[in-house]
């Protein structure tokens, strides 16, 4: 009497467990395989016992199958050795793209990625903190700074700088000046760093002006000129602010005077006709006089040398770190580019070897 399929599968499961390679899928496949084998034997006219015995014999002893399973898996566990053997076998497919990519990245970085030097200067902004002009509030320091930077680095100003300093000679020979200015803007850095203290206090701050160029001397020279342009633009705006403030004061004084004269005339007329002046009108007149007096004092202060302080743009720029000649290139890192290129070539080689190895190696 042969064992049943279930008995056989129990033994197979035990053998697989004993060999440390349990495999539920293998058990399921074995069940179907044995059932197919028995059916086939019955079709050939065997008895049920004979068909089962033949199916089990053909499938093989459970311990043999367990050993075979373990062997196949152990082979997979040693895949590192197989990978190493594959790499060695196809080593030139690995070495060649690595060398080619390394050489190509070196050539590209040499011809198309010129070394860039960056020079920078640090400018301190001093803000008086009083941001009121009459009843209007001045923009915050960073807003004033952005406006100044925008005006200072206008296209016209940069075109003049390019021609003065002699920047981008080759580019100017083949590109419109507008394109060259765009190219230059990409190499200019103007970064507002805010104040050292509480940002909400709006007590000034610092900003860094930088310029990148393949020529370190040109980087330093252009950075110096850019910083100068910003300082000059601020001075122009301070002067314009002073003039604007004077005009505002004059307008306020004129208006106040007009109102004061009218009020005085009304009070004189009332007194002449023997009428009593209400306290409210007398008080309003007094307030008007005080306000007018205050305006007159402010105008005198503005006119005095000590009191000169424009009330529109009140920032003061002070260069705290002048531009220096850069000693080291900022980038691109040719070592980095070459390494990346070489690694890319190595990766490509690995891919090729992997594909070829999988297609041909005995796994």
């Amino acid at each position: 009497m042969p064992p049943s399929i279930d008995d056989y599968l129990t033994r197979l499961r035990q053998e697989l467990q004993r060999h440390g390679c349990e495999d539920a899928r293998l058990i399921e496949e074995a069940r179907e395989h044995l059932a197919d084998g028995i059916d086939e034997g019955l079709r050939r006219g065997l008895t049920a016992d004979e068909a089962e015995r033949e199916a089990f014999e053909r499938f093989g002893p459970p311990e043999v199958i367990a050993r075979s399973t373990l062997k196949e898996r152990t082979g997979m566990r040693n895949w590192l050795g197989a990978v190493a053997a594959t790499l060695w076998r196809w080593k030139w497919w690995l070495i060649a793209p690595t060398l080619v990519a390394g050489a190509a990245s070196s050539a590209i970085s040499y011809y198309f990625l010129p070394t860039r030097y960056r020079s920078e200067t640090v400018i301190q902004i001093q803000s008086p903190g009083d941001t009121l002009v009459g009843a209007a509030r001045l923009p915050a320091t960073h807003e004033q700074f952005e406006r100044i930077a925008k005006n200072a680095l206008s296209r016209t100003q940069l075109e003049r700088l390019i021609q003065d300093v002699g920047l981008y000679r080759n580019e100017r020979a083949r590109e419109p000046l507008g394109d060259v200015v765009r190219r230059m803007r990409q190499n200019i850095g103007v970064e507002f760093l805010g104040g050292d203290n509480d940002p909400s206090a709006d007590d000034g701050g610092t900003f860094v002006v930088s310029f990148k160029s393949p020529d370190p001397r040109m980087a330093m020279l252009t950075t110096t000129r850019l910083a100068g342009m910003l300082v000059e633009q601020n001075l122009r705006e301070r002067q314009a602010g002073f003039e604007a403030t004077g005009q505002v004061l004059e307008a306020q004084i004129s208006d106040m005077r007009q109102r004061l004269v009218t009020q005085e005339a009304q009070l004189a007329q009332a007194r002449a006709s023997g009428q009593s002046v209400p306290d409210a009108d007398a008080l309003a007149y007094q307030v008007l006089r005080d306000a007018y007096k205050t305006l007159l004092v402010r105008r005198e202060e503005a006119r005095s040398v000590e009191g000169f302080e424009p009330r529109y743009s009140r920032l003061r720029f002070q260069i705290t770190e002048p531009a220096r000649l850069p000693e080291h290139p900022e980038g691109p890192s040719k070592l980095g580019v070459n390494t990346a290129g070489t690694l890319a070539g190595f990766g490509l080689g690995l891919l090729v070897v992997g594909i070829r190895g999988r297609s041909t190696a005995a796994l």
Binding site: E32, H33, G60, S68, R73, S359, L363
Partner: protein, 107 residues
């Protein structure tokens, strides 16, 4: 045939058996036995670990399929498996021709 000798070529035999189309384990075993006229008579149970290994290597793919109320794991060649079969077949032809050239005269 010596089982160890046969195992050396088991991958090629399994890949070749699946070249005409997908098949389940029992059909593969039948095909090997029939085509070799009984020469390849491995314990059929040992085919499954080999099939599983080839699947892990992406040379084969498999899925459960139900036919006439019976669940069967059906195997088929992948593109990678097809390429591997071509390569190994060429290598085998070359190898067998060389072996035959050397030992053929003594047969």
């Amino acid at each position: 045939m010596n089982a160890e000798t046969l195992k050396g070529h088991l991958d090629l035999l399994l890949l070749s058996a699946l070249q005409p189309g997908p098949a389940h384990g029992y059909a593969i075993a039948e095909k090997l036995r029939a085509r070799s006229d009984g020469t390849f008579d491995l314990p059929e149970g040992t085919l499954y670990p080999a099939l599983h290994r080839l699947e892990r290597a992406s040379l084969l793919a498999s899925h459960w399929s139900e036919v006439n109320g019976r669940r069967r794991r059906v195997y088929q060649l992948t593109t990678t498996g097809q390429r591997a079969l071509t390569t190994r077949h060429d290598e085998w032809v070359e190898f067998s021709r060389a072996v035959h050239a050397v030992v053929g005269g003594h047969a």
